[in-house]
Symmetry: C3
Subunit: 282 residues, 3 copies
């Protein structure tokens, strides 16, 4: 087991590794975490022995809350990029092409870039009672930057993708399964066993055959890399317009990025941010 | 509120407009309605303030029954077309690219071109008990003209798309949700509140961010315009072959386009049109 | 009715034919069956009268078990190929483009190439209690050869496709419906009536309109032919590496291709083949 800042890596076996996010209080994604994840991918790409990589969380309420909006932008900009694009897009593009089978084991909240990470993995399992997914960025006056607008249509279909992204609401385990946002929702009492059984099973399969399947499925369904950089640009552009800082400022005052009601019910809560409905015109 | 022939426009707020179809007895789509909808789209495209457009119905049994098969073809052909293609395809192409978030709030029946309109909107919500969707054209010896053959695979997947189009059956709210034909089916008692809450929420979001999301999702999932005109041609060609007029003639005699059993159960009923199963060969 | 080796053809009517697989004990697919199916497709393509083709099974436990791993490779290689590619890919490509509406009526197990055949048909109905689908090849150290890696993403979405193919597990009727792997699961007591009613209904529809719909849906969703040959090559390559013969040898010793526990629970069982999980690294 290796403990890095923000997460632990359990090398359960040479072919099965598990990343356990642990960045109290709510598992925000920040440049330090991204850097650690980039290094981990590099290690996996080089090892050629890891066939399954599970992402999970030490916090039963938060898988990955979202990006740390208070993070130092300079630290983010200083992150490496193998593909030459924005570091977060770079990481997600690499993740989606990992030689390992990547599995998001979602207990707790996976919103914003936490949802983006899950969507860039191969398979998403959710705790039926504890998982909550969502892309709430629209409520902060931004389009999500990490590519869910590109990935979701091929996962949940065009109509549900538009609802997820334009509504900015929370999706619990049951609804996320009905929409296809996750592969399936599993009762929380069985969740850990279910994930472990699946991951161990796949980790014993032939790496050559796994690579073949991923290659063919990717050829049929992996979005082109160049779809992603314009979305990062649109997100950072939104950060530079007046609306986002104003809304985020309000949200911070009410408890954004703290363990509390705002983050627990963020999808619902952000709907109240922009004020009441404008009055009807006569 | 503006009352046009065939529908009313409720300008609930500068950013949220609601179209209420009202063309008794069963909300048929005809050239007058299409012309009104074309004008409305033009108004919305010009306004740049409408961010949400809801389509709903004054008739709890019919969202939009289907195209008026008795409508004057010359009146249809005289409709304007911005993109230069058949006016109905032109309208649906423009609708699917509207700067506003378009929502079909489906209570009652949405069949044929009524289903096509719903499929060209961004998001489809259905009353669990009252909604019925279907593309029954195949039973009248025609392929649907307004593009569901192109849109459905990206919404419900290839297999379910083929069943909907080749079976020509009705799909109630529950089945439509399981297939992904609608985003979700909501209990009728909660339906109006649910739609209003969602629409008002989205209408308060930042128009720039909404436009970004729609642009990225469209790049990933909006079918190319040139897929649509051949389907309109195939439909009109079918109207010129003997089978469709003969079948439609039978249907009119039994009550097609009247408020009654035939229209209420059209999916089931059209299955009886072409006569009993041919006898088994020895 | 014509009885061929491996299956019977019921010509219920000039427009509705039903293939009943009957290759005891477990409906393995072998070169003789493929040759018969190729001839049948040729007959249907020439007839221009068959509008619906149903595939079903005489064995309530097995729709199509999978490819006969003990079959003579020379007999397979000697099969004709219209498109010039591997005969199994050739058959599936032709099947997916058949002028007839093709329906898989799945009672019992449809695994491996049995699942591939079902995925190449237009519509999949499943008995809720009796159907089991799966692609177990990964557990034998092979990527499936007949193209499910290409077809599944457009049917169940990318994430579920990866799980089906990389997990190699069984999917019962209920789960197959939730994933979209089948159009819907129907209670077994109603299954035969449901399929017959649907098939007879469609068989009375206009062949010209059916051809139009299939043409438009295919344009939007049929994968390109050249996606398939590399997958057959990868499968045969896997057969030539040491892992597959070793694993298949183990499986044959335990009862593979016999009517018994191994074939009845193959998805679960193959997970035990490659040995226990490797020990954790300190």
């Amino acid at each position: 087991m290796t403990t890095r800042p923000r997460f632990t890596v359990n090398r359960s076996s040479p072919s099965l590794w598990r990343v356990v996010f642990d960045n109290p209080p709510i598992n925000l994604i920040d440049p330090v975490m991204i850097h650690g994840l980039q290094d981990l991918l590099t290690e996996i790409e080089a090892s050629r022995r890891v066939t399954v990589l599970v992402f999970e969380s030490a916090n039963p309420n938060f898988f990955l809350a979202h990006y740390d909006l208070a993070a130092d932008k300079a630290a983010f900009d200083a992150l490496p990029s193998i593909t030459g694009v924005d570091p977060w897009a770079d990481f997600l593009i690499r993740l989606s092409k990992s030689p390992a089978v990547t599995i998001s084991a979602i207990r707790g909240r996976a919103r914003g870039s936490g949802s983006e990470l899950a969507l860039a993995t191969d398979i998403r399992f959710a705790s039926r009672e504890r998982a909550i997914l969502g892309q709430f960025e629209i409520a902060l006056a931004a389009a999500p930057g990490g590519g869910p607008s590109t990935r979701l249509p091929g996962i949940v279909g065009r109509g549900r993708a538009l609802e997820i992204l334009l509504g900015g609401n929370d999706f619990n385990g049951d609804l996320a399964e009905r929409y296809g946002y996750v592969n399936r929702a599993v009762p929380d009492a069985e969740f850990e066993d279910f994930v472990t059984r699946f991951a161990e099973r796949v980790s014993r399969f032939d790496p050559h055959a796994i690579a073949d399947v991923k290659r063919f499925v990717n050829a049929a369904s992996l979005p082109p890399d160049d779809a992603f950089p314009p979305q990062m640009k649109a997100f950072w552009d939104a950060c530079g317009r007046p609306a986002l800082p104003a809304l985020a400022g309000q949200a911070f005052q009410h408890g954004l990025q703290q363990h509390g009601e705002v983050e627990l019910n963020l999808g619902e809560w952000v709907g109240t941010l922009a004020g009441p409905a404008k009055g009807a015109q006569p």
